[in-house]
């Protein structure tokens, strides 16, 4: 395997309880590239991630990971057990050897003010950034994100993807991102892999959406007639806490 690959799957299949979860999947994860896995619910996205992370063994096929590969994993957002007393800083450092200061990582994800906050009081968005900070603390070569956009509205998603793109540029890691959103992917994505047990299609974002297999699966002509993408023209955006941040004051005044 060439030095230019962080991890690779070769003809991987997974069968559980007489059901095909994954069928003949091959993919490569490259350094400093973004791979987005999309697919409907039950397409096997989570299983594929588990196999890639080495948490599950495929029934057939080969899994290869660069020896000593360091992976930062950002699980789906969750409500932490409210019973364990932990500060954000303590949770971020729990069980890992930090390669940089906690403060700098929290700054990078925009929650430096929460360093000493208790985990229990955090909102979903803040918790996600805490998990992100924890994942990049050890300067991983590969960042794996499981459905970071779940339960996030379009504006929040845009902001999240902007943050992820910026972090990727700063830290220069490869990214594998799983999303059930079939239409909106991160603009910085280098490759989209559309999964429905098998790989339906893959390629750059624009190539995938034009692929006949993709259109057959997700292209819904009737809906496209009825829906359009509406572009908001806001002169402000929202901070993490929901506060309004004015981008520029020209045009009109609030009040």
């Amino acid at each position: 395997m060439s030095e230019q690959v962080l991890a690779a799957l070769e003809h991987v299949s997974l069968r559980l309880n007489q059901r095909d979860i994954l069928h003949d999947i091959s993919l490569e994860v490259h350094p400093a590239k973004v791979l987005t896995l999309i697919g409907p619910n039950g397409a096997g996205k989570s299983s594929l991630l588990k196999i890639l992370l080495g948490l599950e063994q495929p029934t057939v096929g080969k899994v290869w990971r660069k020896p000593g590969l360091s992976v930062g994993y950002v699980p789906q957002r969750f409500q932490l057990e409210p019973l364990m007393p932990l500060t954000v800083e303590r949770f971020i450092c729990l069980g890992s050897k930090p390669k940089q200061s906690v403060q700098s990582v929290l700054q990078a994800v925009g929650i430096e003010q929460l360093q000493q906050a208790s985990l229990q009081g955090l909102s979903g968005g803040e918790m996600q950034r805490v998990l992100l900070a924890r994942a990049i603390l050890k300067r991983p070569e590969l960042l794996v994100l499981d459905e970071p956009g779940q339960g996030v509205d379009v504006a929040g998603l845009s902001e999240l993807y902007q943050l992820l793109t910026q972090l990727k540029n700063d830290y220069d890691y490869g990214v594998v991102l799983v999303s059930h959103d079939l239409h909106l992917v991160m603009a910085a994505t280098d490759q989209v892999l559309c999964l429905n047990t098998h790989v339906c299609c893959s390629g750059r974002p624009d190539a995938v959406t034009a692929h006949p297999e993709y259109l057959k699966l997700f292209g819904l002509p009737n809906i496209e007639q009825n829906l359009a993408v509406y572009t908001h023209h806001h002169n402000h955006h929202h901070g993490l806490d929901g506060s309004v941040i004015i981008d520029s004051c020209e045009g009109h005044t609030h009040g």
Binding site: Y73, P75, L80, L83, P85, L86, F91, L94, G95, L131
Partner: protein
Amino acid sequence: MMDGFIIRALLAGSAVVTVTGVLGVFLLWRRMAYFGDALSHSALLGVALGILLGGQEYWFVLAVCIVVALLMTRIQRRPELSNDTILGILGHGGLALGLMALHFSTQAGGRSLEAYLFGDILLLQDTDVYFALGLSAVVVGVVWYYWQSLLLMTAHPELAQAEGVNTERLGLIYMLLIALVIAIAMRVVGIFLLTALLIIPAATARRLARTPEQMVFIAIVSGLVALMLGLASSLWWDSPTGPSIVVVAVIEFALVQLIPQR
């Protein structure tokens, strides 16, 4: 000069509240109070087997607790029954079997049934003290060794697994530790009140602690205070010792609730 039986009670009791404090906080964080209850109930079966077959009952209690803990993890994978149902079946099944076996064993080893149900900390032998001290040293050592992994697994199992913690094995180790604690603590407070020592000091500590370590420390201190005041009450007013210890622990919990939350 203190009497030997009081020194033995203090030594064994301190060992017990130390391990119940250490493991109790995890029981609380993982919402597994009923697990401790079911396991301690089934411990009576171990006692009965010890009497029927002869030998140190500690090992029988330990063996029964381990088997029941393993059975619980096996059955928990079945979707058709909820966890509390499974715990109820195994816990009370073990308790009922133990009561039957005790009833039919005519020579009850010099101890009354009540001693097993409510503890007899003032009647401990030297060997009991050695067992309590030795086994609790094992428990504290193992928890110390796995501390970071245990915390991470408790905070976020999936994350712990992704970062290389063998959560299945660690979960099993945790269950075996609980089994050990039950074997140690049974003599002190008895199987009915054992869960109280696991839960109440940990719950008292939750309100005061800012870190996991503080919570363990406060839970142990709270347990020690309950032990000493409970023993004192038992000596002065001849109140039953095990229940006295638990009542003091409950009073501590109630008092801490009066402190305004930060």
